[in-house]
Amino acid sequence: MAEIAIRNVAKTYGKTRIMEGVNLTIRNGEFVVILGPSGCGKSTLLRLIAGLEEITAGEIAIAGQVVNDLEPRERGCAMVFQNYALYPHMTVAENIGYALKVAGVPKAERQARIAATAASVGLGDFLDRRPGQLSGGQRQRVAMARAIIREPKVFLFDEPLSNLDAKLRVQMRHEIRRIHTRIKATSIFVTHDQHEGMTLADRLVVMNKGTIEQVGTPDEIYDRPASLYVAGFIGSPAMSFLPGRVDAGRQALMLESGAALPLPRALAQAAAGRLVQAGLRPETLSLTAPGKGQIDARVDFVEELGAERLYHLMVEDLPLSVLSSEKVRPAEGAPIGVSVPLGALHLFDADTGRRIEPQAAETPVAVTA
């Protein structure tokens, strides 16, 4: 168990910068998920922590000790790989116990620990099989058992579930969470799947192009995305964006399509006069009769999701999605109204893409009603 501190870490391959100025502190026993699209540097960050690659600049400390120059085995990390990376010529028991064998643990103790670890992940009956004779889920368990048996200070997961089918993935997700609550090692889990990230994480780290966009609990990130990028990446179905300008006098966002969306007073003041992108989560909007809502749109097509329907609308030539459990099925191209509740808008600066927060209590309360 250990705290991990990442300070100003950068990584370059030759002349290409992969990562720059990454700062992150992971608390003892915390489960952190690093989320981002492929190529954003999330796996590289994990490998830098593991010591599989050398950092170009900066510092990484595990449990207060700077580990920049330590070999992976000296860092006290265990890793679960995407393709499991089991030794094909060894049995399940040998795979699980290999780290102990290398460390010179006596055979009797080793076998006792192998049996206990294997049983804890439900592999008790498979100890004599080879990886080639196991299913994907079982191989994944072997890979986890191999990491658990070392009783590591830090657990690293490199997209471990991406090779499993959907049902098994959910099941393994619960299992990983269960193991974490049991052994309480500091864990870092890399994935591109936001559901995985949302369900597993104590804290989420969203990465983009080698930098950290936002760090926060899953609901913080969902409720208050720090940038256009995070807003578009987190949430499914994805957020829609409409450009506009904030009119402080009318306390409204004037969309380019001409519609006016009322804003909370503090937010309108904070963004007064600025060009913004307004982010709208599909699940916060609702449909109304044409002309009755704040936004007038046209139906593009409707996606049936079972319990709900996802309405893909067009506001002039910009897409806008609404998630609704209403069972209306309007014709394609039909006009429709969208009602936007006050406070459902996320505003992002059109130039920088950063979130605009309402000016909090320091703004004096209104003089007139």
Partner: protein, 309 residues
């Protein structure tokens, strides 16, 4: 390509059968000749069915060429070459694939290019080195003036010498250093996923541990393939033993001895050619490589197929 073409199938089988016959007929003739007497083997037309003289013929050939100790010599050399090559090629390829060092590709190509320089091509320089294995160092010392310096300073004349002629070392070493094995291993090592290497690093295994616990068990079939090929290669060496071994009584190899049994103007002195002895000896000399190939065949084929992945 899967097609239903009965006529073509028949044709291919005919061609295969023909090829088999071309290979087997001479072997059959050798077996027949080995079982006949001197008179029978020299009568025309050629006898096509074996006689009963195999054991007497073999006994005579064995005694005449002193095969007993020569077989031991051949075994020592063949096994030495196999072990040397399997080991050397493995660690060379290991260094080339899993370590990142300056000039890695240059070294790989330098090794690779020696594929184009078999022993027969570089036989004169190789012989010179075998005659004095330290001569390259002597040349370096002379050229750089170090030996001159030592001579003028201390009066000692530097003259390095390590003669490998007429020794097992001399027979084995030049055959060990070739590129085929390194290349075979390298191609296999390249198919090992990076994650496996990293998993071993996370498990705390150092490079040698990884080589011993993971790479070597995984390359069993490659080792078998290489060992088979190299055993046959070393066993069949003729030119090199002929050159480096002048003390044939102690270091002669069977293949060289066999050539003495083949009748020509020198051996029979114009007498009746003793083909029956030559053929009986041939059959025995052929046996060890055949046995190795048959014994290793299962592994050997798998090893060669694996490298194509």
């Amino acid at each position: 390509m899967i097609e239903r073409t009965p006529v073509l199938n028949l044709m291919t089988h005919l061609i295969l059968g023909l090829g088999l016959a071309i290979i087997l007929v001479p072997v059959w003739l050798a077996i027949v000749a080995a079982t006949l007497t001197l008179q029978e083997v020299n009568t025309a037309p050629v006898e096509l069915w074996p006689g009963d003289q195999f054991w007497p013929n073999l006994k005579e050939a064995w005694a005449q060429s002193d095969f007993g100790p020569k077989f031991v010599n051949s075994f020592i050399v063949a096994v030495g070459v196999v072990v040397g090559k399997v080991t050397l090629a493995c660690i060379t390829a290991f260094a080339l694939v899993f370590f990142d060092f300056r000039g890695r590709m240059l070294i790989f190509w330098a090794i690779f290019i020696t594929l184009m320089l078999p022993l027969e091509v570089r036989i004169v320089p190789t012989y010179a080195v075998a005659a004095n294995a330290l001569s390259p160092f002597q040349t370096i010392l002379d050229a750089t003036g170090i030996s001159w310096l030592l001579n003028t300073l201390s009066g000692i004349e530097v003259s390095l010498e390590w003669n490998l002629l007429n020794s097992y070392t001399g027979l084995i070493l030049p055959l060990v250093a070739t590129a085929t094995g390194t290349f075979l291993y390298r191609q296999f090592f390249l198919t090992i996923p990076d994650e496996l290497v990293e998993a071993a690093r996370m498990d705390g295994a150092g490079p040698l541990r990884f080589l011993w616990d993971v790479l070597i068990p995984l390359s069993k079939t490659n080792i078998a393939a290489l060992a088979t090929i190299m055993f046959v290669y070393a066993w069949n060496q003729y030119l090199w033993p002929l050159l480096v071994i002048t003390d044939r009584a102690n270091y002669g190899m069977v293949v060289v001895q066999l050539s003495d049994l083949v009748p020509d103007q020198l051996t029979t002195g114009g007498g009746t050619p003793t083909w029956h002895l030559a053929m009986a000896a041939t059959l025995v000399v052929m046996l060890p490589p055949i046995a190795v190939v048959i014994f290793m065949q299962r592994w050997f084929v798998r090893g060669l197929i694996n490298t194509d992945k």
